[in-house]
């Protein structure tokens, strides 16, 4: 159970600046697809570092294990990216000072792998927006000790 405070994603990221132009109608990103806030903390029960992504509505998730290190939390109904579980024991990060870039790359790799598996979701902007939200708040998210407290 994560108790870390939510970190709001900037409105500039939430609102699309360039609306897609149709002939008569403008299509914006649907608000329910855009991450509103993110948070991350080491979950002592799971023994994993969990990043959660919050949307306008709450939803149950199911886990999609991508590899030994990353497990994605995917919305049961909407198939949105709701969270990421990182097995820090398997994550190849420096023991004293982890590499933010490396973690982000690992997440991107897992999401790409998931989208290759579930091609129906490939066109959706949700995944790109979720990664963007994590990247924009990466330092704030991961400075809450990504490694298990005992390590």
């Amino acid at each position: 159970m994560t108790t870390a405070p939510w970190i709001q994603v900037e409105p500039s990221l939430r609102m699309r600046s360039e609306p897609r132009q149709g002939l008569q109608l403008t299509l914006f990103v649907p608000p329910h697809e855009v991450p509103q806030a993110v948070r991350g903390e080491f979950d002592k029960q799971l023994k994993k570092f969990v990043i959660e992504i919050r949307y306008l509505d709450d939803e149950d998730f199911k886990r999609e294990t991508m590899d030994d290190t990353v497990c994605l939390r995917i919305g049961k109904n909407s198939r949105r990216l709701l969270g990421i579980e990182l097995d820090t024991a398997n994550l190849n990060v420096a023991q004293v000072q982890f590499q933010l870039k490396e973690v982000e790359e690992e997440i991107k790799r897992a999401v790409t792998k998931f989208l290759q598996k579930d091609q129906a979701q490939e066109e959706r902007e949700n995944y790109a927006l979720a990664i963007k939200a994590i990247e924009s708040k990466g330092e704030q998210l991961l400075n809450r000790s990504i490694l298990a407290p005992a390590l």
């Binding site: 409105p11 939430r14 609102m15 609306p19 132009q21 008569q24 109608l25 403008t26 299509l27 914006f28 990103v29 649907p30 608000p31 329910h32 855009v34 509103q36 306008l56 509505d57 709450d58 939803e59 149950d60 919305g75 049961k76 109904n77 909407s78 949105r80």
Partner: protein, 268 residues
């Protein structure tokens, strides 16, 4: 009596009815009065003689109390949603002095079954449930929203089927929807031709447009999702040729969305 007190009363009646039905009356029925203490004999006998009507009456009491609680006391969800739609309306048309019904915000709920007299009831419909302001809400003004997205009607239907935010006309578009009302249209044109344009741009049937002669000339549709599943749509419609503050309305929606969606979970 206020709603809070009524809620307590109805819940108590439901509890009493339920207790009698499920616990007290079955015990009374199974108990032999002769085996009881003198003090209990009289009330048990009293109940046993009247069980034939007390039992169905208590069942009816519980059912009616539950129904009344849902219909009367659960209005807070409806009222809260109405207030939130009002916020969106104020954001979209700030300081507007025109009559309230010139710019409206309506919440439509998707219902698989609905009696609309225009198509099969099981086709899938978007039915208006709450509207901003004090203007009337006609439940017959519903829009077809079937599984086949191509047959979805109106801005509401299109917004539902595409799950996207729709703005008509766009902020930078030169196009405006034709003015259909003959009373206010200073330059009369071919009504059928104008209705055809209006119908095409708003995804409606020309006959429906000719019959209703809608006044609205700009629309904004926002899909509403609850627990990851499409629930309905919010449609902002205005007599102005453009909705100037579409982004403001969307930003406001994002601000109120979480409590708004929580209220929708209670809205019947």
């Amino acid at each position: 009596m206020n709603r809070k007190t009524l809620h307590v009363v109805f819940n108590s009646l439901f509890g009493i009815g339920g207790f009698c039905n499920a616990i007290l009356f079955p015990i009374v029925l199974e108990t032999q009065p002769d085996s009881l203490a003198q003090l209990l004999k009289a009330p048990v006998n009293f109940l046993r003689q009247r069980l034939w009507w007390l039992w169905p009456a208590s069942f009816l009491l519980a059912a009616l109390a539950k129904f009344a609680d849902k219909k009367i006391c659960d209005r807070w969800g409806h009222d809260a949603v109405k207030e939130m739609l009002e916020i969106l309306r104020e954001k979209g048309f700030p300081g507007n002095k025109e009559p309230v019904h010139f710019h409206r915000v309506t919440l439509f709920k998707h219902k698989r079954w609905w009696l609309c007299w225009r198509f099969w009831p099981w086709s899938g419909w978007l039915v208006p449930v709450v509207r901003s302001g004090h203007t009337t809400l006609n439940h017959q003004t519903c829009f077809l929203a079937p599984d086949e997205a191509d047959h979805a009607e109106g801005i509401a239907g299109r917004c539902w089927s595409t799950k996207a935010v729709i703005l008509i006309p766009t902020e930078d578009s030169n196009m405006t929807l034709p003015l259909l009302n003959p009373e206010v249209n200073a330059k009369p044109h071919d009504p059928h031709a104008m209705a055809e344009i209006y119908a095409k741009e708003t995804f409606m049937d020309t006959d429906w447009v000719l019959k209703k002669l809608p006044h609205s000339r700009s629309f904004l549709g926002i899909p509403v999702v609850v627990q990851g599943q499409p629930w309905g749509v919010i449609v902002v419609d205005s007599r102005a040729t453009k909705i100037q503050c579409a982004k403001g309305i969307l930003a406001s929606y994002e601000e109120i969305a979480r409590p708004f969606i929580k209220c929708l979970e209670r809205l019947s």
